[in-house]
């Protein structure tokens, strides 16, 4: 009798202390990065609940800017969009490294991201998911597409799709033998590269069926055969490959573009406790493997790829032989102001006839 | 002048699904006459008019204007014009443009249109209003503009669809005279439909009384009034006291009847063919009944009785007296003579009244 009373008292205490600490984590992320099962497990373990808002780089920044960094407790922009946006709009708060279990991260990736997201001595981001932009090709219908500029081959007329976004500009620059990243610091040189790329993309416009905007849209176009080659994310290619073996992701000759999506804490986030808990939770290898299975991309979790199913690994290895991995062009931080130049170029590409 | 009538209908019929609105009507309207079609609402007169105008195609029969069949002529090519019930003046145009509308459609030159419009407006007594808007006119003036709009086209026949219905009483009385004057002024054939007998009686050369899709009688106003051929005409045109009676004796056209209230009447067989025992409808006009304060004055009239004054409906020249028959309590309406002899008559007074058998028109009762 006595013991049960004691036990229930403990239980009530435990529950109430948990309730006092339980927070709602408002997570601004990409599709696939927060699977239902992972959220359920997280809530069961920590008591924190999670509200997911799916978005993309530009919208994340725009949303946070509109509220001066409020409305969300954790966001996941790509690493090249962290320090520039922070400098411009001040929408993030520095990461408290002591609250992170850094041993969970692949050390090289963690260091690279820290460096890329440092502003005035403060670190603003840690890596989560990484992947590449490259070519998704229907190898039966478009066997000759090996590089971005092959999409502009007259033989591909009307069967091509890509986005009118900055990755396209960067990709074409590499494909044309330039190094846009090297020119980041020199706006004049960068503008010169942009002018050439703009001309090439305008010339290529006749080949394009439509500019795609969302992942489902491009997958639909490839699946129906209306588009036979596209510049797109590796995951899309691998997902299609599972359905139709002739479609797969191809690392372009001039190099796939590597991106790392990070964790950042918005300036006016109210659930930092839960945010750090979430980061430490999802970086556990077994959780990371679940996210990889859902999103299709690998994570910065040390040993996270061990639990990934073999089919995905096989596709990854088929698309990325060692030299292709070595050839990945990782996005450096975008200097503030560069995007204005890119935006004008993209507008002109969009408007050209 | 030829003998060809301006408008001629031959066995004209119109059937809507199961309902026959116009039943094989035939008539002729001679040139330059004012022809009215008088009937209660729903009698088919509007359908008939719309067939003449061309808005509805007849089910069978022929329609001729100046001797030529116009069945296959669309409304915008028919040599008839119509004045609509609510006039249908175009609110988006000024008066000049309204009147000149038809001429414009014919491709007449601008200067000539203006001259003709001014002339016709002057003829209807509205000179100088061409630039004003339709809304600035009074009801009677609009009426005249509507007629001018038609007359400027010099139609063979002008159709008028109860155009006075929307006017107030005083204006209506005035416009009756005005319309008749305009008709003789333009010397155009008018076909006028109305449910108002006084409009028809005052203006028309010929009146057709229409009921349930057929013409009951065609004749002049006087003929309809004094010699109605059917019970419907007798009841619809002018006022009448009605009795239901049974023929007790027939001698040629002279009848003796017994009403439902048991009064013996002497009358005239107006429809023909009534035999003793037949049910009859009997009509006596209030103005045919003579009044007297002495029984002797009315005793010899063929039909005579005494009555108590129930009420005096004083309305100037149209004053009426409602009497209650002393014998059986039946109500009877009598026109009050304008001589002033009965001006001191009051409710409850007893008077004697009577009328000639010739004024007692009897028709076979229907149903």
């Amino acid at each position: 009798m006595k013991t049960t009373t004691l036990l229930s008292t403990v239980a009530v205490l435990a529950l109430s202390s948990m309730a006092a600490q339980a927070e709602t984590l408002r997570l601004l992320t990409w599709g696939g990065y927060a699977p239902e099962a992972v959220i359920a497990q997280f809530t069961a373990e920590t008591g924190h609940t999670v509200e997911v808002t799916k978005s993309n780089n530009e919208e994340m920044i725009a949303k946070l800017r509109a509220t001066n960094g409020g409305g969300f407790d954790l966001a996941q922009p790509s690493q090249d969009r962290v320090s520039g946006a922070q400098e411009e709009f001040g929408i993030y708060k520095p990461m408290d490294q002591s609250k992170l279990e850094t041993s969970l991260f692949i050390p090289s990736m963690l260091e690279a991201t820290k460096t890329n997201t440092t502003l005035n001595g403060e670190v603003y981001g840690v890596p989560h998911v990484w992947g590449t932009d490259g070519l998704v090709v229907n190898t039966a219908l478009a066997p000759n597409v090996k590089d971005y500029k092959d999409l502009c081959d007259p033989a591909m007329a009307g069967k091509v799709s890509y986005r009118v976004k900055r990755p396209t500009l960067i990709a074409w620059a590499f494909s044309m033998g330039k190094d846009p990243f090297a020119a980041y610091a020199d706006p004049v040189a960068y503008q010169a590269i942009l002018d050439e790329v703009e001309a090439a993309l305008i010339a290529c416009k006749a080949n394009v069926k439509t500019y795609w905007d969302g992942g489902d849209e491009i997958k639909n176009l490839l699946r129906s055969g209306e588009v036979t080659a596209a510049m797109a994310w590796d995951t899309g290619g691998w997902q299609l490959n599972a359905e139709m073996p002739e479609i797969t992701f191809v690392a372009p000759a001039s190099g796939a573009l590597g991106w790392i999506d990070t964790f950042v804490i918005p300036a006016r986030g109210r659930a930092d406790e839960a945010a750090y808990a979430w980061i430490n939770f999802v970086m556990r290898p077994e959780i990371a493997a679940q996210i990889t299975a859902e999103a299709g991309n690998f994570t910065a979790s040390l040993g996270g790829d061990a639990g990934v199913d073999d089919a995905l690994k096989a596709r990854y290895q088929a698309s990325f032989p060692q030299e292709a991995i070595d050839n990945i062009k990782w996005y450096p931080t975008v200097p503030a102001g560069l995007e204005t130049l890119e935006g004008a170029a993209l507008d002109r590409v969009n408007a050209a006839n | 002048m030829t003998d060809v009538p301006d408008l001629e209908c031959r066995a004209l019929s119109k059937r809507f699904d199961s309902f026959e609105a116009v039943k094989a009507i035939s008539f002729e309207v001679p040139k330059g006459s004012f022809f009215s079609i008088l009937g209660p609402s729903g009698c088919g007169k509007t359908t008939l008019l719309r067939m003449i105008a061309g808005f509805q195609a007849p089910t069978s029969g022929d329609l001729r204007i100046k001797g030529r069949s116009v069945l296959d002529v669309p409304p915008n090519k028919r040599p008839v014009s119509m004045v609509f019930q609510h006039l249908a003046l175009f609110p988006m145009m000024n008066i000049g443009a309204n009147v000149g509308f038809g001429l414009r459609q014919r491709g007449v030159g601008k200067a000539q249109i203006k001259a003709q419009v001014d002339r016709v407006l002057e003829r209807v007594g509205l000179a100088g209003v061409a630039d004003r808007s339709v809304d600035s006119l009074s009801g009677g003036q609009k009426q005249r503009v509507a007629i001018a709009r038609c007359m400027v086209l010099e139609p063979d026949v002008l159709l008028l669809d109860e155009p006075l219905g929307a006017l107030d009483l005083k204006l209506r009385e005035h416009m009756k005279i005005e319309l008749k004057r305009l008709q003789s002024e333009f010397n155009t054939t008018f076909v006028y439909i109305t449910h108002d007998q006084s409009e028809a009686l005052v203006m028309s050369d010929q009146i057709a009384v229409m009921n349930r899709g057929v013409f009951e009688q065609i004749g002049t106003a006087k003929e309809l009034y004094y010699e109605p051929k059917t019970a419907f005409v007798a009841g619809f045109v002018g006022e009448a006291n009605k009795y239901r009676a049974k023929v007790s004796r027939a001698n040629g056209k002279q009848l003796e009847l017994l009403t439902e209230d048991g009064i013996a009447l002497h009358g005239l067989d107006a429809g023909g063919g009534l035999r003793p025992g037949d049910a009859a409808q009997v009509f006596v006009r209030p103005e045919a009944i003579r009044l007297s304060r002495r029984a002797a004055d009315t005793q010899d009239l063929g039909n005579a009785s005494a009555g108590v004054v129930d009420s005096v409906l004083f309305n100037g020249a149209n004053s009426q007296l409602i009497l209650r028959d002393a014998a059986n309590g039946a109500e009877i309406s009598v026109a009050l003579p304008q001589t002033g002899a009965f001006r001191d008559l009051n409710k409850g007074d007893t008077v004697y009244f009577g009328w000639e058998p010739e004024q007692t028109r009897c028709y076979r009762a229907e149903g």
Partner: protein, 287 residues
């Protein structure tokens, strides 16, 4: 006392309208206007000026995009009127009672689903592997698949479809009020169908035509989804430009300026069209 009471009642009646106007229309516009006046000169440094507006007039791209958007919207408006007028005339004048209600509802049915779904519907019909292309191949009219999507024709189709109701409703209302006897009187006076349409029906329906055209033009000009989704690579639409300035370029200043230019220029176009056709806004809205 009662006068004060009625004034209080008036204020209470007006309060929701004023609240709506001030908080949801006027205040955001003031904010937007202030933003549009700040020129970015460096990181987190801004100057006040009309530079953002100048960008619109000096960069032919933006100017051309607006001109194209306006031109396409005007064409869409004209097309909607051309298609909507006979439809409205049929509903208002040639049907009665139940069938009238049914037809009217049929015009409304597309609006029971969201604009996105409606647009996807058109994408399913028009895409290369879509219904229309397959059907034409089945009939043997075309040999291979044909892409009907991603061109101006597709944008126009989508815009007209989206706008139809907003043209038909005011037209039906004005045509309903046209007395049939006016049309009959026109015929009776010798007019052909064409001149009745020109001289009687259209002048009468003018307020409906004008209000329908204004609404359709503004809706088309301000449409975002339809041109972007159906137009594909040629979708260039001014609202898309505003969106990209706000969202993908983080350039709120230019985006705000574009927003105000859209407001101003579209008002100018509507005003000019009213003047050209000799109509006045008061006359149109008064009915």
């Amino acid at each position: 006392m009662s006068k004060d009471g009625s004034r209080l009642g008036l204020i209470l009646l007006m309060a929701p309208l004023l609240l709506w106007l001030v908080t949801l229309i006027i205040l955001p516009h003031i904010g937007l206007f202030v933003v549009s006046l700040s020129e970015k000169v460096g990181v987190r440094t801004y100057e006040t000026g009309f530079g953002n507006y100048a960008v619109f007039f000096t960069e032919p791209l933006y100017w051309n995009t607006f001109a194209r958007t306006a031109y396409m919207s005007i064409m869409a408006t004209a097309l909607t009127l051309l298609i909507g007028f006979p439809v409205a005339y049929y509903i208002a004048k040639l049907t009665r009672g139940r069938s009238k209600t049914t037809l009217f509802l049929m015009c409304l049915i597309p609006f029971w689903v969201s604009e996105l779904v409606r647009t996807f519907g058109w994408m399913i019909l028009l895409r290369e592997t879509g219904v229309l292309s397959s059907f034409l191949q089945y009939l043997g009219v075309i040999n291979g698949p044909v892409e009907f999507l991603y061109n101006d024709f597709a944008i126009m189709t989508g815009l007209v479809y989206t706008s139809m109701l907003f043209m038909v409703v005011p037209l039906v209302t004005t045509l309903d009020s046209l007395d049939d006897s006016l049309i009959e009187a026109g015929y009776d006076l010798g007019a052909s169908s064409l001149s009745i349409l020109r001289e009687i029906i259209i002048p009468h329906a003018m307020p409906g035509i004008v209000s329908g055209c204004i609404v359709v033009f503004m809706l088309s000009l301000g449409n975002y989804l339809t041109p972007i989704l159906l137009g594909g690579k040629d979708s260039l639409w001014f609202t898309g430009l505003i969106y990209s300035q706000f969202i993908t370029r983080f350039n709120w200043e230019l985006g705000s300026a574009f927003g105000f230019l859209l407001l101003g220029l579209s008002s100018v176009i509507v005003f000019a069209a009213l003047k050209l056709t000799g109509q006045s806004l008061g006359k149109t809205m008064g009915r």
